[in-house]
Symmetry: C2
Subunit: 513 residues, 2 copies
Amino acid sequence: MEASQNPSARKKRTRRRAGRVRKAVAAPAYITRKIPVHDLLAPESLEQIEQAADDILEKIGIDFRGGDTDLIEMWRRAGAEIAGERVRFPKGLVREVLKTAPRQFTQHARNRAKSVEIGGDNVVFAPAYGSPFVMDLDKGRRYGTIEDFENFVKLAYASPWIHHSGGTVCEPTDLPVNKRHLDMVYAHLKYSDMAFLGSITEESRAEDSISMARIVFGEEFTDNNCVIMGNVNVNSPLVWDASATKPIRAYARANQGTVIVPFILGGAMAPITTAGAIAQSHAETMVGCAISQLERPGAPVVYGNFMSSMSLKTGSPTFGTPEPALGSLVIGQLARRLGLPLRCSGAFTTSKLPDAQSMMESVTSMQASINCGANFVLHAAGFLDGLLSMSYEKFVMDADYCGSLHTYLAGIEVNENTLAASAFDEVGPGEHFLGCAHTLANYETAYWESSISDINNWEQWSDNGSIDTASRANAHWKQTLREYTAPDLDEAIDEELQEFVSKTKASMKDAWH
Amino acid sequence: MEASQNPSARKKRTRRRAGRVRKAVAAPAYITRKIPVHDLLAPESLEQIEQAADDILEKIGIDFRGGDTDLIEMWRRAGAEIAGERVRFPKGLVREVLKTAPRQFTQHARNRAKSVEIGGDNVVFAPAYGSPFVMDLDKGRRYGTIEDFENFVKLAYASPWIHHSGGTVCEPTDLPVNKRHLDMVYAHLKYSDMAFLGSITEESRAEDSISMARIVFGEEFTDNNCVIMGNVNVNSPLVWDASATKPIRAYARANQGTVIVPFILGGAMAPITTAGAIAQSHAETMVGCAISQLERPGAPVVYGNFMSSMSLKTGSPTFGTPEPALGSLVIGQLARRLGLPLRCSGAFTTSKLPDAQSMMESVTSMQASINCGANFVLHAAGFLDGLLSMSYEKFVMDADYCGSLHTYLAGIEVNENTLAASAFDEVGPGEHFLGCAHTLANYETAYWESSISDINNWEQWSDNGSIDTASRANAHWKQTLREYTAPDLDEAIDEELQEFVSKTKASMKDAWH
């Protein structure tokens, strides 16, 4: 049901949806992949990993810390063995609980043309999430502000290749830590019309986020449809803290989506061998997904994964390396065997600049995400600096790479036209195809072309000032922000959102930690 | 048989092989992949492409231009229909001829520990090939010289991740065009001990290259083993020129290897639709491979592929784009159905600098090569500038990426140790794995670590001077060249090689075009 058909009783509204089409016709709301996934392991090996995960859950168990006693009680009723905070899961229990989780669902955008399908053969790209710092070539690295936050929301909105507005696109550190979630959710709703993620840092903040979504989508529609999601991390290894489980339950209670993600640096928060790290990740994620089903069977939930390797010299995390890429391929197989939508790694890098290393690592990581069958690619654009910084230039480069992946995921069509027999009839040996009828007929749909890459020859490139990729990206984001115009937002809704934000802020003292 | 057991009668020699092990123990002569290939198309679609290729061969045919009348006569005897230079191939003829080609073969290196297996599950990385220009951060872009050529041979030799010395690593434009092949082959033999490619620009130059290989490997050994290969391009579309077919035949006659490669810019030398371009490429390559078998059944031959897209604005070639990546996946399937070793795309890019674009495109291209099952990856390191320049810095970055692919291609081991049950017994929920027994036992073999990427945190990186990747690569190649020491080469062989070069040069006037 359209939110526009479901007005709040509190205020009379005119909910005109934006009629203006900003994005090019070619830009889709999301991708439906036409190429097969790349399966890495044979079924026997996958079964070994599943067995190892089951053993962890049965013999070691998971600690539920921080006092979410209701949840521990739910696990007891479901059949788990409880010993204080430690919960152990008899074989098959977690899988049984997961059976109510949907294989695929729609996350609705306030512009319904941009609603995204999560699961199945669908792929959704969302910006990077969670950096305290931002950087650009002009001002360097500094703490993120709400202005930066709004800028990244605008850049994602303006990109034809980003499908989702994401969540904490950077930390707006100039706002109180207990209030900034209100400004972030407002920015997603005001400056974009795409689907987005709400706060998960505390139960009340999750609830505030959902309340704001209800203002836009209507109460009934929200209760029956996914209109907001929260991305929640496990405290690996094997700890689910109340600060995470209560937000999961808040989203599930409202029938909204959660993305369940262990944050694993192999050798630190998990075994140093990849198979063991995957087994642990699988155990943790299954339990996290099951929490949503215990709270509200059928609530949308996404099986997430975040693995990294580490430097053996310093112990610091490394990103875009081969081990997590391989891990993603296996995680994809495991998620499909469970029948859950999959979130996987994005454009990860430890590089401190938008330079060669940054794209070497990010493309490696994104290729893994694409090949493993990820449905929701959080962190698809923007990260630098070991995920600590959101870079304006890197965002532009990554988004452009996401564009090329639209073509990649479309695969190769084999049919009479594409096999081009008529072209060979027309063009003989030694001649060229540039002007032939088949070329002219297929010209407009041929070949991905980047907006950032320079494909000129040396002389043209030199004449144009010998500009490097980062500098081209710098010009690109500035132009995009200059040309940005906000999507329509019904004035009455906007007022109600602002009222909610003011009222909620007024009920709290500022907190900065 | 070892070349050292097969001395020439002309000169008494002491053929001591280098006892020194320069490369780290971990550096293998080549990779044997443990991960599956990524198949893109269903068998029905592959059959459609094969059918289209067969139709091209039967109905359009191939022009054999330039006067290789012996070859046309061979095709007549094999059952092809001849009409002047045009040869048409009845269904199944080319496949029949190809039946004698080996599925896998060894290319011997003069250091036998570095001989490479071409075909099967094996992957061999070789430097980029054929750039007229070279560039580095200090001196910019200029025409390549024999000094540059030798430098790239040395850099490949010194890299633990490059398995093969390649061929024309850059054009030594300071040497006469009709003589430089002698200096190039000499450089490969003098400054490296890995397998390499000889000249293919003319029949006599191919023969000179093979003669020099015979000096090193011995006549009998060379007649029975592959010790040199030539990389030969089709004149797409559908023309095999005598300047290409005669070198193919020269290599095959000597029982040496050829790599058969169409150079296809889609929309120009082939249809603009990828399926049609693949069909044409398949037809051309099958015929090229068959030439070697007509000349000498059983001669080693590699099925090659080189596809590119083009800019729809300017008609200039683009590299590292999604269409050729998809094309590679299909080409891999076709090569496996034929049972021939496969050469595929390398680290391609149109970027003029070793910047973000360069690695974005190169990694995309290399991933395709890895996923499609390429056995011989020419152009694995060095290209910039739409393949016109060989970059010192890019070489270092690409070679480092090849290193990471060693880890990627090793896949994930799933066994009792890697599943790490003992680690979970030792480390409980909420604790870390850094010092646990399982971590310590597996520490040394864990995690790829780049030599070029900076994985420090922001503060350490800033303290170290905020250096970008290209500058680190610049320091790296300079240090490598400073520390380079040549592999041993028996003095008598060296003299004989130099004698051959002098004598052959003396028989010709310098030609510069």
